[in-house]
């Protein structure tokens, strides 16, 4: 009954792959999604397409959910995910699924991680020329990454223009470094506006922020001015909620109302005399507030969304001003500086265009997207948002988690976000001492160009003596006991986030990153030199605890030329490293995955006759001869995202293979990750 399940899973995956294949790669077309309300949505985003399919077969839903989860995390790769999944499942059709499921973690640990950490490493390029902490994305690399990404998401006539807009926005916002990039990514919905009925060429990057509201009161003012943010109505009310106000006479009522008006005017006068010329409100203000604002020459933008209020706070660092409860005379401390504020009309939508002075790294700029129809604008905005998410992933690295193979079979991948500021003292001293050792060792093995075999035999990651309590898997990491008992239900998470702790302090300085004690050292192009006997080296004694999580599989900022190079390289090195593994099950899986990887460049080259074969032969030939790869491609892609894709697919396969029964229930399920 288990094999029945696999066959159908393979078929389902193949059907899904057929649906998304048409939209893959630079030659792919876009999908027109018609929503239930009849509105059109144009997209080439695999996530949107899979969601729109409203799949019914439970296996398909599970696959789509995995693909979407991966896409949401990395900003890219839902279509590739489905294709790779289909290829892997298709190739596993004949074998025993349970055996394959058991061998997958071992494959990942022994073959895949090594293929990436050692095989791929010499070919990788770095998108941060300065490197190290506080890394800034290089302008040329940014353009290459964006353009390559958008090739998979936009039509041929739009990619270049949108990529240039994205680059300009990034550069002008200061978002080539992580903190500002994160803000741009999180607040992109508020940082762009769309206008339909115009050609794409009219799109612009504007300084300042466009708030999706018209001025309730607009009093033109030149030069720098102060602005305050409020989140409640400035006019006092006679009776607050839950408060009863007794009216004893008509005069009293009139006096009370007059007092409310007077108080409102006093607040406005106070604001104006402190130089405030702009009032930004998160709520609707009373008509009287607007009236007095007009009288005192204060512009008002009201009904701002909570996201817009949050954005303004983040940019300017101010918090909302509350005039209630104290005397009107108090000094207004929390005011933002605004260099200009004016109304802007985009189509029928009016905006308040406000030039905030930034209090942080993010220089406020916004993007005005133009296209003939809204659906295209939405597509462009979604693509750029995905691109920024992808760029953010570039600052991450993949580390190898310390573990004991004998205890748990699941591979642990520590993915870390490397912040700009970090204490490096401890790390550097370790790194320096180890680099000396490395140098010494390099001399010994310089002649051996292919030393992998001996190295692999050493089973580098086994540190039975180093298994101190500190290096045991942390509370965040979930363990999978797939190997030890097959009766277990499928677990999912093998990626554990560790933003702090030991791993964090072990970030390497760029100067020594190629001479690290566990990593491969590159002597010349494509010449690999592996360390021998690293486990027994003298550095172990000196390094203590940090040594148990020694190296990263992928450096932050690693990029490769786009267009199937990653897949071909990984295919080549998986095959190479698989030869050195004794377990036949792992060898079988290695071959399955290696061949499945080729399905992606095959799909990319699609209709071109012999395009793929030629590309494959040229590349592998160069690899065999240790020559530089024949690259005539300017676009780049993030290796982190690609590597995550492969591991996510393998985890999804493990999950699917371990399912033996699908139980349908009538009641709605409660859960947090049900996308469908």
């Amino acid at each position: 009954e288990m094999s029945q399940g696999t066959v159908s899973a393979a078929d389902v995956a193949a059907a899904l792959a057929g649906a998304v294949r048409g939209a893959l790669g630079p030659r792919g077309g876009r999908a027109l999604l018609v929503r239930p309300d009849g509105r059109a949505l144009l997209t080439r985003d695999g996530l949107r397409m899979l969601e729109a399919l409203s799949l019914q077969p439970p296996t398909a839903r599970a696959m789509a959910a995995c693909a979407c989860r991966h896409r949401s995390a990395t900003g890219d790769g839902a279509k590739t995910f489905v294709l790779l999944l289909a290829a892997v499942l298709g190739a596993m059709r004949d074998g025993s699924p349970r055996r394959a499921a058991r061998a997958l973690p071992a494959f990942e640990r022994r073959v895949l991680e090594r293929a990436v950490a050692r095989g791929l490493r010499p070919h990788l390029r770095c998108a941060f020329p300065a490197g190290g902490p506080g890394a800034e994305l290089e302008a040329a690399a940014l353009e290459a990454l964006l353009e390559a990404y958008l090739r998979g998401r936009l039509g041929p006539g739009e990619r270049r223009a949108v990529a240039l807009l994205g680059c300009e926005l990034c550069a002008r916002c200061g978002a080539r470094r992580p903190p500002a990039l994160r803000l741009l990514c999180d607040r992109f919905a508020q940082l762009h506006a769309a206008a339909a009925g115009l050609p794409l060429a009219r799109s612009r990057v504007l300084p300042g922020v466009l708030l999706r509201r018209d001025f309730a009161a607009y009093c033109p003012a030149g030069g720098r001015l102060r602005a305050v943010l409020v989140t409640r109505c400035l006019r006092p009310v006679l009776a607050a909620p839950g408060v009863e106000c007794a009216v004893r006479s008509e005069r009293q009522h009139r006096a009370a109302l007059r007092w409310c008006g007077g108080r409102t005017e006093a607040v406005m006068e106070r604001l104006r005399s402190s130089g405030v010329r702009l009032l930004l409100s998160g709520v609707k203000q009373h008509e009287e507030v607007i009236y007095y604002a007009k009288l005192h020459g204060v512009s008002v933008v009201e009904c701002l969304s909570s996201e817009e209020v949050a954005l303004i706070s983040e940019i300017t660092g101010i918090s909302p001003y509350d005039p209630a409860g104290d005397s009107v005379q108090r000094e207004i401390a929390e005011a933002a500086v605004v260099t200009f504020c004016q109304p802007l009309l985009l189509g029928s939508q009016r905006y308040a265009h406000i030039g905030f002075s930034s209090a942080g790294a993010f220089q406020p700029h916004c993007l005005v997207l133009c296209a003939p129809v809204d659906a295209v604008n939405e597509q462009h905005a979604a693509a750029l948002h995905g691109a920024f998410t992808m760029l953010l992933q570039l600052f991450r690295e993949v580390g190898q988690e310390c573990r004991a193979e004998s205890q748990n079979g699941a591979s642990g991948v520590v993915s870390r976000y490397s912040p700009a500021t970090e204490t490096q003292v401890a790390t550097e001293s370790i790194a320096c001492s180890s680099s000396q050792v490395s140098e010494h060792q390099l001399g010994g093995c310089r002649d051996e160009t292919t030393a992998q075999s001996s190295d692999l035999a050493l089973q580098e990651s086994e540190h039975p003596d180093c298994m101190s309590p500190a290096s045991a898997p942390g509370p965040q990491s979930k363990e999978l006991n797939v190997c030890t008992d097959g009766t277990d239900s499928a677990g999912t998470h093998t990626v554990c986030e560790r933003a702090d702790g030991i791993n964090e302090s072990h970030r390497k300085h760029p100067a020594v990153c190629s001479h690290r004690n566990y990593s491969t050292a590159v002597v010349s192009t494509a010449t690999l030199c592996e360390h021998l006997g690293v486990d027994k080296g003298p550095e172990k004694a000196g390094c203590g605890v940090t040594q148990s999580c020694p190296c990263s599989i992928l450096e932050a900022g690693s990029v490769l030329p786009v267009g199937g190079y990653f897949e071909i390289l990984l295919h080549y090195y998986i095959r190479q490293y698989a030869k050195q593994v004794q377990q036949s099950a792992v060898t079988v899986i290695s071959n399955v995955v290696a061949d499945a990887l080729l399905s992606i460049p095959k799909a990319l080259y699609g209709t071109e006759r012999n395009g793929f074969t030629k590309f494959y032969l040229e590349t592998t030939e160069a690899l065999r001869k240790n020559q530089p790869l024949p690259v005539n491609e300017k676009g780049l892609e993030s290796v982190y995202c690609k590597y995550q894709l492969v591991t996510s697919v393998l985890h999804c396969v493990t999950e699917l293979l371990n399912i033996d029964l699908i139980i349908g229930v009538k009641r709605p399920l409660t859960g947090d990750s049900n996308l469908f």
Binding site: A52, P156, E250
Partner: protein, 570 residues
């Protein structure tokens, strides 16, 4: 989570362009038949009865008819967006876009190649249109009204459903230009914002009774009418105006969140009315001559004001508030508890006017950027069409003020652009085809299809099986009246080209536009005729056509790029 169940799977269609042919050709047929001064009218109505729309304008047609094919929905949305932004050239955009899709679809070349090349061709066109050397554009001189009148007349003539004769066209064109001139501020350096022209509908009168009146007309019921004549003036001989945007009805409104407990014998309504009368007193003391309220004024206050010779107009409505502030310079007052004299505006005079059976208060300002266009027509259905045409014309004039250029009308811009492209491709194609990574023949085919689509827009001007020809010298468009046999000597038959700039001469050589594919390339660049603005020249709005051209090509590219449709069936 409940949507886990009961959700139907979506409908997945591969190669959506194969299913679009038939509805697309129907749409083209409808659009083409509407195009130009000789376009056929469409009567749009609901089978259940009710409103009937008689039109040939894209804005009305596209908003009234519904299509079911999702691809056509995208196309229509695109054109509608263009129209909502530029008002003009909607049919041009729609026809061009449809023709591009149809002719590119038939080429059987990979869509990404087609898209790249058509984008390249579009950039050739836009560069040419923006360049000084462009032979199909004229610059608009605002000191010479004749060009502006030509522009407006071309718009009115191209809307046959307005049913205007030549005198009426001339009359309306003058009115529209005059109204536009009123809205241009005299001192743009202090206030660089265009004013407003408010259209006042008067149905049941002749078109020739239409008029432009400086200032603002606010409609009032007849009852008030008799008392309107004596208006109180302040010391400066102007009429002081107070504009209220808050209700003056004396009703308590806007309940606050908490509770108000009112003691026995206390009436908040009375309190409110007292306050209103206080406001009235202050208005009288401040020598206000006219009070306009967006909402309702309490009858007692109205009477009090009337007794004190203050004109009170209420229920003015939100739409009048903006021009009202512009015309009087007053700030709308939002509180009846504090009245600042700085809110008052002023007017030169206030008087009563009536058109047909309607009565208005006429606000006459000192320095106006607001005017009222009293638009008359006997027929209500035609009035709607006429109003759309007038609004288009006004918008076109505004766009032209921003960019003082116009394009030749009557199909001449399209044929001229096509002949420019054909000639340009001859010199460029070897290098260009390499740039976009395709073969020379593919490039040629796509360029031909592109030019053909442009020319097919010009061809849509003829509706009576009349032939359309182009001359080989200027690349202009010439309409041959129907019923003439195909003769070789066109020069004797034709008088003027479509736009009216060129007269036919013996030495012109001709080419048919209808059977297009494989037409011989033109060796020489189309000549630039010495453009003198003639009396009756057809001109099109530059900004609208320039945008329409780009939108049409981008939309066609977008549709060609579709690989599948996923329709949600829920």
């Amino acid at each position: 989570m409940s949507r886990l169940e009961g959700k139907k799977p979506s409908l997945f269609t591969r190669e959506p362009l194969t299913t679009v042919s038939q509805p697309l050709s129907l749409l083209i047929a409808i659009l083409k038949s509407c195009y130009g001064p000789a376009g056929r009218l469409k009567q749009i109505h609901n089978g259940m009865g009710g409103y009937v729309c008689l039109t040939s304008q894209s804005s009305a047609i596209l908003s009234h008819i519904s299509v079911s094919h999702p691809v056509l929905k995208v196309l229509m949305a695109s054109v509608q967006n263009h129209v909502s932004r530029f008002s003009d050239c909607g049919l041009f955009t729609a026809i061009l876009c449809c023709s591009l899709i149809e002719s590119f679809k038939n080429l059987n070349i990979a869509s990404c190649t087609v898209i790249k090349i058509s984008k390249h061709l579009l950039s050739l066109c836009t560069d040419y249109l923006k360049s000084e050397a462009c032979g199909c554009r004229v610059s608009v001189d605002f000191s010479n009204l004749e060009t502006l009148l030509c522009l407006v007349r071309s718009i009115l003539i191209s809307k046959p459903a307005c049913m205007l004769n030549k005198t009426e066209v001339d009359h309306l064109a003058v009115l529209i230009v005059k109204a536009f001139m009123f809205t241009v501020p005299c001192h743009p350096e202090t206030k660089p914002i265009l004013g407003k022209c408010v259209t006042v509908p008067v149905k049941g009168r002749r078109v020739l009774d239409s008029a432009v009146i400086p200032g603002l007309l606010i409609e009032t019921p007849e009852v008030q009418f008799a008392k309107l004549f004596s208006v109180k003036r302040s010391n400066s001989d102007n009429v002081k105006v107070a504009v209220f945007c808050v209700s003056m009805s004396g009703d308590l409104f806007g309940p606050e969140e908490g509770t108000l407990t009112v003691h026995h014998g206390v009436s908040l309504e009375m309190s409110e009315l007292d306050q209103l009368l206080n406001v009235g007193k202050q208005l009288v003391n401040d020598e206000v001559g006219l009070v306009v309220c967006q909402k309702v004024i309490h009858p007692s206050l109205k009477k009090y004001l009337k007794d004190n010779h203050v004109i009170a107009v209420d229920r003015a409505g939100l739409s009048v508030m903006e021009p009202l502030s512009q015309v009087t310079g007053s700030k709308p007052i939002a509180s009846i508890y504090s009245l600042s004299p700085s809110c008052y505006g002023s007017l030169k005079d206030v008087c009563a006017k009536s058109f047909a059976s309607k009565h208005f208060v006429h606000l006459i300002p000192n320095d106006t950027v607001v005017c009222s266009l009293v638009l008359c027509n006997r027929n209500e259905t035609i009035w709607d069409e006429l109003k759309r045409a007038c609004e288009t014309a006004e918008h076109v004039l505004q766009l032209t003020l921003k960019e003082p250029l116009a394009l030749l009308g009557g199909g001449c811009t399209e044929t001229h652009l096509a002949s420019y492209l054909r000639q340009k491709i001859c010199c460029l194609s070897t290098s260009s085809s390499k740039d976009v990574d395709c073969s020379q023949s593919q490039y040629q085919l796509i360029a031909d299809a592109f030019c053909h689509s442009l020319e097919s827009v010009a061809c849509s001007l003829s509706h009576d099986d009349g032939e359309i020809i182009t001359d080989m010298a200027y690349g202009h468009c010439w309409l041959v009246p129907s019923g003439f046999p195909s003769v070789s000597n066109w020069s004797d038959l034709l008088l003027k080209c479509g736009c009216g700039i060129n007269s036919s001469t013996k030495d012109l050589s001709w080419r048919h536009l209808q059977p297009l594919f494989g037409s011989p390339p033109i060796e020489s660049c189309p000549k630039e005729p010495s453009i003198k603005v003639a009396d009756f020249m057809a001109l099109d709005c530059f900004a609208a056509k320039y945008n329409g051209l780009q939108v049409a090509v981008e939309t066609a590219n977008l549709i060609l790029d579709l690989s599948c449709i996923i329709e949600d069936q829920n």
